[in-house]
Each structure stands twice: as structure tokens, then as C-alpha cells.
Assembly symmetry: none
Homo-oligomer: 203 residues x 4
DNA sequence: AATGAATGAGTATTCATTCAT
DNA sequence: GATGAATGAATACTCATTCAT
């Protein structure tokens, strides 16, 4: 039983991993299903056993990758809080943002791939498998942080949306093209901006 | 003499207009050059006489449309200032944002087409013809407004970048899918956010 | 098992045969891939499953056809030698030439198709599949004949090159246009010329 | 009068020269009429005033270039004969061949362009303008040389055909790819071969 | 669960040629 | 004689998808 299951999971992961490599190397539209299955060493039909179509595997990849970034930020924050238990909520948010931006700046290919779709994991997709189920947990995780220290906000959901969109939008051109400036130059403005955005949602 | 010139311009405009209609109706990648020329009533070769390729006409369209939105906002502001000469710079920025968002909300197809590329006219393209030349003037126009009343900022360029990216990123999902809320609900948060972002750049 | 293999081979051969017919009837550049697949009764994609592109099928055809001509000449020679074991090497070469020219004269379309590329099988192509592998053997076969009776030459490779180029160049216009004379008129001159060319390479 | 004539001739020559440059640089089929007229600085329609189509300008170019090579050889021979009045006809032919091959080896692009069509000027084309009329004179020139010293041959026309085809066929791959050997290595074999071919046509 | 041969609609792009001015 | 805007047929090649095995 488990053996066949493992085999399936391995094949699926191989397809995901290889297609991600190809997407980030050659670009999405220049990567064909043929390229993917050849790289993964499976037959063409097999691809369609595991994924509905090309967009389907792209969506899974975005969810998977953005989830990792978002959860990594949560972990970083938790570690920091264990040393500084008295952080304000705003400082916690800045910490999350810093982690996200730092992760992204280490992986410009991922930035290109996500293409400002960092928020994807939160909203745009029906929950079809475990990957997406976890993505939902991410959202909950963030709401929990917002409420830490009994902080209250005008609208938590809109606040998450606003800040996340702000980060992924501004960071995009800066990481990929260093335009209109490089990341280190922009970071202070960004953190100050986030701080101010928090104020905008403060009760 | 001018007759032939007029004829050319008319044909070019027809291609631009028809392709925009098709792009926003069927989507960009589902619109073929065949569709465009058929709709414009010209031969296929004619398309390639006026535009280098599909991306070329898309770029011209984005520049043209975003330029109109951006300039419309400037005009709206100027009209308002003629009645309220004492507006603060921040209020002027909010006015610009309001005009842009209002324009976009009236034309969701345009939002979809621009796909968060509102800033396109500002940065991403060499200046090759009159369309793009005007786009440059837009940028100057906005810098002028920032400096009205002798206001001073930490970095005008980064400020324009930050606010423009903020608007186009947040507005996108809201206008197209009313997610996570509709525009009227979001507007107060948005304006408050912009106000705060200005603070972040205030000297 | 073998069934699927047979089917593939049959389809491949059908493409080869039909494209040859079209190439020699309408001309190579006036034959489109559409024409070929329509004639072979397969889908367009199928063509590209079996051949890399148009030039690829042309190369295979040239190798295939020139190989047949060249090997046919070897067989003719072997049959003749079984009756006349004492042939001189020069007479053997004339015999080969006669067989080649006779074959070609029976098939002007092939002459046009090969377009002075008779030597193709010898030199110009990496050995990629069985067709081309055989082509290599042809070359060895000819070297063997040159060395029959212990004959020695200044340079066998250059000799084969010289004579093969001589035949394919002179025969071309004569078979296709009977210019500057017809083949029967030219043959004595040709054989005498070859005899003399052999002398030029005799040690 | 003459002025307009001169202008026409200049334009025609410009088209010929520029197209030759493009044909030998980019290749014939990769050179479009657009490329030619752009390079020559005339309008598209003008091309069709001077030449019937692409093949027409190619034919004129081949005639023009091969004529020059062939006449250059005649001049070289005449110069040599003024010093060595007692040359045998065979030596004269070798001298012609040497001149032709030397010219070609200095200009591989021309070899590629002529593509074994050196004999073109002699046979394949109706005489339509002065260029081609001259080409005919070339032929007469060569017959005259064959008859020098009262030499007699089985068939002068076939002899010219045979030797010319021999040269252009063998020299092609050698100059362009140094295959199967380089020109200096091949020259002795070539001259010996030509000498022998002359014997084949000797009465 | 996996294969891979077969599909065929679909696309962008080229270019020789024409003809009204 | 010259122009260049307009043509539109023609073509090679791709690729997501299916389905019999």
C-alpha cells in the first residue's frame, strides 16, 4: 500500500520540482509539458494523471512556494519573540516583512515566478488538496499574530491584504531590476511605510 | 500630402482600437493577429507594417491607456485647485489617487488589461514615438505637483514609485473580483493608507 | 510488441516515400509539409514526430537514394567479376561508373533531386541512424575495390572524390537537359575521361 | 539625355552590387527584396523596374561574376603567351585553370555564391542584355584558344564542358571546407587530371 | 498506474509583388 | 521614372491533450 503511495508522491514531487526548475530557468510560456515530462523522466500521459493542465501545476507551485516564505516568516518571528517577549504588534509585522523580503531577495527567480502573486496562497483558489489546506492555515497564523498582545484593528483581513500587496508590489521591480533603487536603499522607506500602514488600520 | 498621412494614422488607430477591444474581450493570448486584422479590415501584412509584433502593439496600448488615466488625474486636480487654492500636497495626492481609482473602477477591462502595469508609462520603455514621449511628461507633471507649496520629501522618485505601486496593486483584485471587499468599502482605508505613506516620506 | 514497431516504420516509410514523390514532382521548395502529411494521410504533428524538420527528411532521402545507387553499382561489378575475374582495376571503376550513370539516366527525377549531391553519403553527415550507418559502409566498399588486384594509388580518398565529383557534375546537365549533348554521345568521352583520371592517380 | 541614362545605370549597378553583398553575407534565401532596396536606398517598386524578380538579379550576378573570372583567365594567359609564345595548348589550358582556381580561392564567398554554376555564363540563359552578350564572347574566346597552334580535338564544346564542370565541381568543397583536402594539396592532382582529360579529347 | 504515438487546430511572421499617386 | 503603402497567400513549426494499449 504505502509503497505505491510513496511512489506516486515521489513522481508528483518530481514533476513539481522539475517544472519549477524549468519555469524559473526558461520561463513559464517557454516551458512545454514535453520539457517537463522529459526532465522528470515520465511519459506525457502521466503528467495529466497528476495535474489537470499547465495552469494547475503552476498554481500548486505558487501555493507551495509562497506558503514556505510566509511560514518561514512566522517561524522567524516566533524565534525572535522567545528572546523579546515584549515586542509590539507593529514590530512583529515589520519582523515578518523583513523575513519575507530577505527570503525573496535571496531568490530572484522565485520573485519572477511569483510575479506579484505572493498573496495567492491566501485568496484566489479553491482548496483542493493538502497543499492548499496548509495555505489556509497560514492565513490563520497571521490573524493570530495580529491579535497578539490584545491588539485591535479596524479590519484584520483588509490589513493583511493591504500590507501583503504593498510588499509584493514594491519589492518586485526592486529585487528583479534594482529599479528605481536597490533593496538596501529601499528597506528603510519600506519599513517606515509599513509602520505607517499599520497606523492607518489602528483603532 | 496630409491626406496620405491622415490615412496612415487612421489605419494605425483602427488597429490600436480594434486590438484593444479584442484584448479586453477575449484576453490577450486568445487574441490572434488574424483576429485583429480581420476586425480592423486590413491585410495581415499591414499589421506588421505598423507594429513590430504583438508585444509592440500591447506596449503602445498600455502606454496610451495609462497615460490617459494619469493625465486625467492631473486635470481633475487642476480643476479642483482652481476652487481650493490652499490644498495641502497630501490632499492633492489623495485627489490624484481618487481620480485614478475612479477612472479604473469605471473600466474594469482596462484594469485587467493593464494588469498592475499602471507604472509602465513611467519606467519600463525607451522613448520611441510621440505616445511614449508624452508618457515622460506625465512623470514631470507628477514631480511638479509633489513640489507644490514648497513641500519637501525624502525622495520624490521613491515616493511616486511607492504610492503608484501601492494603488495599482491593491486596486487590482478589488476592482476585478471585489476581493477581499468592494471598492467603496476599501476607499477610506486606501486614502488613509496613502496619507500615511506620505507621512513616511515627509521630511 | 513488434506490431507497434512495424507500424511506426511503415508510417515513417510512407512519409519518406510520399515526400520523395512530391519533391521530385513539384520541387523541394514548392512542397510544403502540409502537402507531405496530406499525401501520407497523417497529421502535421506526426511529421515532426518522425523528422526534425524539412531538411532532415531531405537528408535522409538523399542518403537513402545515393546509397542505393552506389551499392547497386557494387553489386553490378561483383556480378561482372564473377564472369571476368581478371578485370583491371580501371575497368572495374569504369564498370561502377557505367552502372551509376545508367541508373541515374533511368531516373532523371532522382538526378534533379540529388542535385550533384551524389557524394553526400560519403562525407557531409554525422552518422545518426541505420540509413547513414550503411552509407559509411559504401565508402569502405569502394576503397576495397580500389585495392583489388593489389593496385596502388597516390591517394585513394582524393581519387574517389575526384571521380565521383566528375561524374555527378558532368552527368547532371546531360541527363536533365541533354546539354551540351545526350548521354549516349557523351558516354565514350566520359569513360575515356575516367580512364585518364585513373592514370592521373596511378603510382 | 545621357544624364538620365547614367542615373539609371548607376541605380541598376547599385542594386546589383548591394544585392551581391547581401547574398554573399546573409545567404541568398535569407536576403529579401526589402533588404536589397533598403541597402540600395531605393523604393521597393524600383527594384521591379530594373529586374523581373529575385532570380533575375541572381542570374545577372552569376553571369557578371563568372564572366569576370573567365575573362581574367584569358588575360592572364595572353600575358604569359607574350613571354612564352611556344606554349602547348594543354599548357595553355592548365594556365587558364590555374588562373580560375586562384581567383576563386581568393574569394570563397564568390565560390559559395556561384555554387558550382561557373559554366552558367556559357549555356543556360537566353541572351537578354549586354551582360549576357559579353558572356557569349567568353565562349568564343575559349574556342579560339583551343585552336591555337592548329591543335585539333575530338569535340571542342564537350571538351570545354568537361573541363569546366570538372574544375567547378572539384574546387567547390575544397575551397569552401578544405575537404577532403586543402587546395594546395589538391592542385597537383587537379592539374594532372586536367592534363589527362585533355588527352582524352586529343585526336 | 503508465505509456507514448498521434493529433490538428493554431500562430506568428515573411515577402514577393502590385498599383495608385 | 520612382515611390512605398498595402496586400494576402503561404509556411514551418508547436504543443496541450487524448486514448488505445
Amino acid at each position: 500500500m504505502g509503497k505505491a503511495e510513496d511512489n506516486k508522491r515521489a513522481k508528483r514531487n518530481s514533476l513539481l520540482q522539475r517544472s519549477y526548475d524549468l519555469f524559473t530557468t526558461k520561463g513559464i510560456s517557454d516551458t512545454s509539458i514535453s520539457d517537463i515530462v522529459e526532465s522528470a523522466g515520465v511519459a506525457k500521459g502521466t503528467f495529466y494523471f497528476y495535474f489537470k493542465d499547465k495552469q494547475d501545476i503552476i498554481d500548486h507551485l505558487i501555493a507551495r512556494k509562497s506558503e514556505r516564505i510566509l511560514l518561514d516568516a512566522v517561524n522567524t518571528l516566533e524565534f525572535k519573540r522567545s528572546n523579546e517577549p515584549d515586542m509590539t504588534t507593529v514590530d512583529m509585522i515589520i519582523t515578518l516583512a523583513d523575513s519575507i523580503v530577505t527570503d525573496l531577495s535571496k531568490d530572484p527567480k522565485l520573485v519572477k515566478f511569483l510575479n506579484r502573486n505572493l498573496t495567492f496562497g491566501f485568496y484566489h483558489r479553491a482548496v483542493t488538496d493538502d497543499t492548499f489546506i496548509t495555505a489556509v492555515n497560514v492565513h490563520e497564523e497571521y490573524e493570530k499574530i495580529l491579535h497578539a498582545n490584545g491588539a485591535r484593528w479596524k479590519d484584520e483581513s483588509l490589513m493583511i491584504y493591504t500590507i501583503t500587496e504593498f510588499i509584493s508590489a514594491t519589492v518586485h521591480s526592486i529585487i528583479l531590476y534594482s529599479k528605481p533603487c536597490d533593496l538596501d536603499t529601499y528597506k528603510p522607506y519600506m519599513f517606515e511605510s509599513i509602520r505607517k500602514l499599520c497606523e492607518a488600520f489602528a483603532l
